[in-house]
């Protein structure tokens, strides 16, 4: 369970987050939608302290932290119980695929290499990348890199995975394979997920809860069918109408898997 209260953040005198509250039950999927510049990504990044909030608190199961005043030890503790999947993948370029997944298991979880390798291989399979152990990131397509990014996040066995626009940097034909992987883990594994995305069709399908953000506040939230099909707020309706005309309903069950 994650309970986030009153997150505020400004860059200079521009207020990006104006008091965000969010509750995410264990094992559920929350999708955050909203136009560019609405603060979605910043909000996600304050949760694992890649951005330091100006105010706010978070309860992550039995860990309770102040998002502004947390000590280095508390920050490390939160990061060790969360994972992040980045828009630009951010695989460790100097490590092979298998080393990318093993890295956190060995250095953070202090596992033996052989044990870490077994786990890494299991998650490679999970994202449909078995056999790619010794490739370096530079040898992979964007979609493949992102699937490894997801495997790396999953392998750490986190209480929550934060997805920061996981398909926004991908070529259109590669979006499907990454969404398929996320959909698969959402269904098969009991992982709590917070996903920032622009894929509305995907949100409708996997989300237990949809949150619509604009201008640093949550405009509307709730059941995906309600929010996406019968939005109450004018701003949500406007946003959706702009997107739904573009949303081409990609063949999501990619043959690549």
């Amino acid at each position: 369970m994650i309970d986030i209260k009153q997150v505020h953040k400004s860059f200079g005198n521009r207020e990006i987050l104006k008091g965000i509250d969010l509750h995410v039950p264990t094992g559920s999927v929350t999708v955050i939608l909203g136009p560019s510049g609405s603060g979605k990504t910043t909000f996600l990044r304050t949760l694992n302290f890649l951005e330091k909030a100006d105010a706010g608190t978070m309860q992550l199961n039995d860990i309770s932290v102040d998002l502004h005043k947390a000590s280095n030890k508390e920050i490390l503790n939160v990061r060790r119980n969360t994972s992040m999947v980045f828009q630009s993948y951010n695989l460790f370029s100097n490590k092979t695929v298998i080393e990318n997944i093993m890295e956190g298991l060995v250095t953070v979880k202090k596992m033996k290499k052989s044990e870490a390798r077994d786990i890494a291989q299991r998650f490679l399979k999970e994202v449909g990348m078995e056999g790619y152990d010794d490739y370096y990131p530079v040898q992979l397509s964007g979609g493949q890199q992102q699937r490894i990014g997801i495997a790396r996040a999953l392998a750490m066995d986190p209480e929550v995975i934060l997805f920061d626009e996981p398909t926004s940097a991908l070529d259109p034909e590669l979006v499907g394979e990454v969404l398929a992987v996320i959909r698969k883990i959402a269904k098969e594994l009991e992982v709590t997920m917070i996903i920032v995305t622009h894929e509305i069709g995907f949100a409708k399908e996997v989300a237990d809860q949809v949150v619509f953000m604009e201008g640093g506040v949550i405009v509307e939230q709730g059941d995906p069918k309600v929010v996406l099909e019968h939005p109450k707020e004018e701003r949500t309706r406007k946003f959706l109408s702009r997107y739904l005309t573009l949303d081409s309903e990609l063949p999501l069950d990619s043959a690549a898997l």
Binding site: N48, T82, F92, N94, E103, T107, V138
Partner: protein, 238 residues
């Protein structure tokens, strides 16, 4: 040619100076080694904006980069005893500076010089690594130091190696000026040898030859290192 260039004199110089090659190499290795630590420290302090220390590092780089190497050496050579005297004056601790070998002073001087240049090289190298690498490492719970050592540094090394090689060769060649503070190395030994008779060209062609050999060997070694360290950029043969 035999009567224009005296080949027996070349042999003579060669055997007279060859033992001093190890002095040159020792000063080079120590100065570059210590300079690397100093440079890395200085650039990390600046990068992380550590209060006071980052300003001091900046000042150090600024001061040591902008004066001639030889002037810096003289400052250390004449300044160190004064510093020790002042220390004794304040605390009563006597440092036997008259026993401090000139080679030590040479290493200190060249380390200060090399560290300042390397600090800037490392700064550029660290900036060449995308920010996302550090973020991804920290996001899975690695400490800053773990992330730096295991993820950022190996990538920065690939960027830094050609420039580092340059600085290594520069420092190696700079050892030829430590003669001014009485340290005898390759160049100094040749200079002393010529003083008995004035066969300058023969003496210095030997010095040049030995520097050529050392320089080319080190360039080769560093090139191999670079190929090895940048393997991830080309990928594995599959």
């Amino acid at each position: 040619m035999g009567h224009i260039i005296d080949s027996t004199y070349i042999y003579g110089t060669f055997f007279a100076v060859i033992p001093y090659v190890k002095v040159t190499l020792m000063i080079t290795f120590l100065s570059v080694g210590l300079g690397t630590i100093l440079g890395l420290l200085s650039c990390v302090l600046q990068q992380n904006k550590v209060p006071v220390l980052s300003q001091l590092s900046y000042l150090y780089v600024l001061l040591c980069r902008s004066i001639p190497n030889m002037v810096l050496l003289y400052l250390v050579y004449y300044g160190l005893p004064i510093l020790f005297l002042a220390l004794e004056d304040q605390t009563g601790v006597h440092v036997p500076f008259e026993k401090v070998p000139a080679t030590f002073v040479a290493v200190v001087g060249l380390t200060l010089h090399t560290g300042a240049y390397l600090s800037e090289i490392f700064r550029a190298a660290l900036q060449s690594v995308p920010k996302g690498q550090m973020e991804a490492a920290q996001a899975i719970g690695m400490t800053w130091f773990q992330a730096f050592r295991r993820i950022v540094l190996p990538q920065a090394t690939v960027f830094a190696l050609p420039l580092f090689t340059n600085q290594f060769l520069n420092t190696m060649k700079s050892t030829s000026i430590v003669f001014v503070i009485t340290v005898i190395e390759l160049f100094g030994a040749a200079k002393l040898y010529t003083e008995e008779n004035s066969q300058y060209f023969e003496a210095y062609i030997v010095v040049a030859g030995l520097f050529w050999v050392m320089g080319i060997v080190f360039e080769f070694i560093f090139h191999r290192l670079e190929v090895y360290a940048s393997k991830y950029k080309r990928g594995n043969a599959l």
